[in-house]
């Protein structure tokens, strides 16, 4: 216990006695944490945007005007039973007309003329999917159903609609965004580790004689290593604190712009509601980088 307290005290003291190196290490820690936070922000931003787009995509199944009430109900039950289908809503011819009417000023005109020629709009099912990736597969499952003969067309098959292309694009974009995001995050973590590792190694290099002397006086490895690990931890803590002190006011200042110009409102809300997770993550990253790089940097000086 005494030793544990001593290690912490020494770690604290060293930070103040090597003020310049501590400042440098903390500064790099701050930059690293800021970049990683910015990066997390962008990833989540792109993902929420894509999620919104994906949420809007559903599968429309257009039905023949000759379909009977019973046929329609049977088909709805069947579609509902398919895996990965979260909801099926029936849109009658009248509903479709109303929808068109409410969509825009242009739509209102179109609806008017459509009504005049006896509403050519088909009734349809709007099928919501649990996972948008399987839209093609579900489309063909529905098509192969026994009850499918009342289907005239689907939004996925309709080339004029061009929705199929959009859907496939969104799927592939969001998948690659996730992948690229993950790869870049890992890459960044490694770069940060290397930078901090080097800074701390320099700090230790200037003090290698100290390490040598400590060992000669009979200090155990832990007694030598401890204060350096404490320092690494503290660089992480200070780095995270300073980063927070920069990020919070900065985000406040630019959030109106982000919300109005980029539609980043949901992302900002996400961060606001997960503030403690975000802050905790920053501390965790800082401490992780600090401790791991101190540990690695010390290895060669601790050989007996």
């Amino acid at each position: 216990m005494t030793t544990f307290l001593r290690i912490w005290r020494t770690g604290f003291k060293n930070i103040f006695r090597n003020a310049w190196l501590s400042t440098a290490a903390t500064a790099i820690m701050v930059i690293t944490i800021l970049i990683m936070t910015f990066f997390a922000f962008s990833t989540i931003f792109v993902r929420t945007q894509l999620a919104q787009v994906r949420g809007k995509i559903d599968l429309s199944i257009f039905l023949s005007d000759d379909a009977t009430q019973k046929q329609i109900q049977d088909l709805q039950t069947k579609i509902n039973g398919i895996n990965n289908v979260s909801a099926v809503t029936f849109v009658s011819k009248g509903d479709a007309l109303k929808k068109l009417e409410n969509s825009s000023a242009e739509g209102k005109k179109l609806a008017k003329s459509a009504e005049d020629i006896g509403n050519p709009l088909p009734a349809s099912f709007e099928v919501k999917l649990v996972n948008i990736d399987s839209i093609g597969q579900i489309n063909s499952t529905i098509r192969s159903l026994e009850e499918a003969k009342i289907i005239t067309d689907t939004s996925f098959d309709n080339r004029d609609d061009n929705r199929r292309g959009v859907v496939e694009n969104v799927i592939s974009i969001s998948n690659s965004v996730s992948k690229i995001g993950l790869i870049l995050s890992v890459l960044f973590l490694i770069i940060a580790l290397l930078i901090i590792f080097n800074t701390i190694r320099m700090a230790i290099f200037t003090r290698r004689e100290e390490v040598e002397i400590m060992k000669l006086v009979g200090a155990t490895k832990w007694f030598v290593r401890g204060p350096f690990l404490v320092e690494g931890t503290l660089y992480g803590v200070f780095g995270a604190l300073i980063s927070l002190a920069i990020i919070i006011p900065f985000t406040r200042a630019v959030s109106p712009f982000l919300t109005s110009k980029l539609g980043a409102g949901p992302t900002l809300d996400y961060f606001a509601s997960h503030f403690f997770l975000l802050a905790g993550g920053m501390f965790a990253i800082g401490i992780f980088i600090g401790v791991v790089s101190s540990w690695l940097a010390l290895i060669r000086y601790l050989k007996v």
Binding site: T2, T3, R6, K13, N14, R17, N18, E209, E210, E212, I213, M214, K215, L216, V217, G218, A219, T220, K221, F223, V304
Partner: protein, 217 residues
């Protein structure tokens, strides 16, 4: 002993009695420092045995080297003080690494600093001390753990004659208190004036071992 197969010491067989004051002389490169590095297990002999007190060095594993070093006080020519710590803290550090309680440290350190005559400079940093004061700090650090053996590796190498004598007198005083002292030096006047046992090493071999020796190479 070294990677390039130079043998620094060979066929050295010595027995040093408790409470003895032994001076080891030899020109640079004769193997004095290697002998000391062996004693604090900074190096391991390719063959042969080292026994200090009841400890056989072959039986000490890596994890216990720190404990061994805590039982032997060592003073170096270049002092090896921690530059970021004050005199008091440097001495206290030797106790801290041994897990001694803070209360005990507060009691022991001023006492030992008084013994070496550094009470006044307790809160100075090494950079603010003279060579003699630095060496006395190093001696205080070596002594504060009450070692049975004090090894002084050319402690006067960087000091002027006046300071050198102060240090030697301090070592003699420590020896009178019952600590075995092992001194290595180049300094002919000191060796001749000591009138203690002198072991002469040349080219890695003990060439002379006299009860009351003189410096002769």
């Amino acid at each position: 002993m070294y990677a390039n197969k130079t043998v620094a010491l060979s066929g050295v067989s010595l027995h040093i009695n408790p409470k003895e004051f032994v001076t080891i002389v030899g020109s640079s490169g004769a193997g004095k420092s290697t002998l000391i590095r062996l004693l604090i297990k900074e190096e391991v002999p390719t063959s042969g045995k080292i026994i200090v007190g009841s400890i056989d060095y072959d039986t000490i594993d890596k994890a216990n080297i720190p404990h061994l070093r805590r039982r032997i006080g060592v003073v170096f020519q270049d002092f090896k003080l921690l530059p970021n710590l004050t005199v008091y803290e440097n001495v206290a550090f030797a106790l801290e690494v041994s897990g001694v309680k803070s209360k005990e440290i507060k009691r022991a350190v001023p006492k030992i600093l008084q013994l070496v005559g550094l009470s006044e400079k307790m809160h100075n940093y090494p950079s603010e001390l003279s060579g003699g004061e630095k060496q006395r700090t190093a001696i205080a650090r070596a002594l504060v753990r009450n070692p049975k053996i004090l090894i002084a590796d050319e402690p006067t190498g960087n000091l002027d004659p006046k300071n050198s004598w102060d240090i030697i007198e301090l070592l003699l005083k420590i020896n009178r208190f019952g600590t075995t002292v092992l001194l290595t030096t180049h300094n002919k006047e000191i060796v001749d004036a000591l009138k203690k046992r002198v072991i002469t090493i040349n080219r890695g071999r003990v060439v002379k071992d006299e009860k009351v020796g003189k410096y002769s190479l």
